[in-house]
């Protein structure tokens, strides 16, 4: 007598794919918003020979309305140095990078106190700029 083996169907249900992908989508969106300053409006100044910082410990933005933000949160310039000191803590050199994003038209009266505050907190400044396009 021949006993036929049952065929085991081991296919992944296609219906679940949508749910998995949707969960992944939510995961990425939440991850992107964790240190989010993408909602802030600013245009970088031009620069040459730009490099990517190896570490990023804090992000300071001076937007097109000359408002200062620390890690996406609005902050008065007077308290910026103290807040940065708390954020940077006792981190060794090389791990105290502060990404500074200043709108290209912001004036010295707004960005100089910010630079001073970063310097006072012992932060290592990294100005975020846009690669200069050579006009011919």
């Amino acid at each position: 007598m021949i006993v036929r083996r049952k065929k085991l169907d081991a296919s992944v249900p296609a219906m679940a794919m949508g749910d998995i992908a949707f969960l992944l989508l939510i995961f990425f969106v939440i991850l992107a918003r964790a240190r989010d300053d993408s909602h802030l409006q600013w245009k970088p100044a031009a620069g040459q020979e730009l490099t990517r910082p190896t570490t990023m410990n804090a992000s300071v933005v001076v937007d097109k309305y000359n408002v200062t933000h620390l890690n996406g949160r609005e902050i008065p310039v007077g308290t910026l140095a103290e807040e940065l000191k708390v954020l940077l803590g006792e981190n060794p050199a090389g791990r105290r990078t502060v990404m500074l994003k200043v709108h290209h038209e912001a004036t010295a009266v707004y960005f100089e106190p910010v630079i001073e505050a970063v310097s006072e907190a012992g932060g290592e400044l990294h100005h975020i700029l846009e690669e200069e396009k050579n006009q011919q």
Partner: protein, 140 residues
């Protein structure tokens, strides 16, 4: 005679949802990566309330106006400024002699400030910012 009604409500195929969601993921990731993250590192000495004038031999003073550069009191065009600052810093060996005090007027835009400080750093200068301090004077 019976007439069969055609079904108007048609369910979308469930197998397409994964493709739609995947395209959405790609879209969000591409949107997220547009934010610029390249730039230039800048070393600034820690802020001091008063500069130590007696220790420094001769600091180079650079004053910035809205679109001009003044080097030790002489207004210069950008190309000549680069050559002049390179010449001034060429013979300096000690770090304290390479200090360039940058003073900006209130209306100086960030793009201009970055361009000038970039030239100074490329020439080997160490930037310090000269800021006006607010003092409260009590009048009797």
């Amino acid at each position: 005679m019976k007439l069969n009604r055609t079904k108007l409500l048609v369910e979308p195929p469930a197998s397409a949802t994964s493709d739609i969601a995947f395209i959405l993921i790609v879209f969000f990731l591409v949107c997220a990566s547009v934010e610029p993250d390249k730039g230039r590192a800048q070393v600034l000495p820690r802020a001091e309330p008063e500069p130590q004038k007696d220790k420094q031999s001769q600091t180079i003073d650079v004053e910035l106006t809205r679109n001009a550069v003044i080097l030790n009191g002489n207004p210069l065009p950008p190309q000549i400024f680069r050559k002049s600052i390179e010449l001034k810093l060429a013979d300096k060996t000690r770090d304290e002699d390479k200090i360039v005090a940058v003073k900006s007027r209130k209306e100086v835009p960030y793009s201009h400030w970055m361009a000038v400080t970039g030239i100074i750093e490329d020439s080997g200068g160490i930037i310090t910012m000269q800021l006006e301090e607010e003092q409260t004077v009590q009048v009797k």
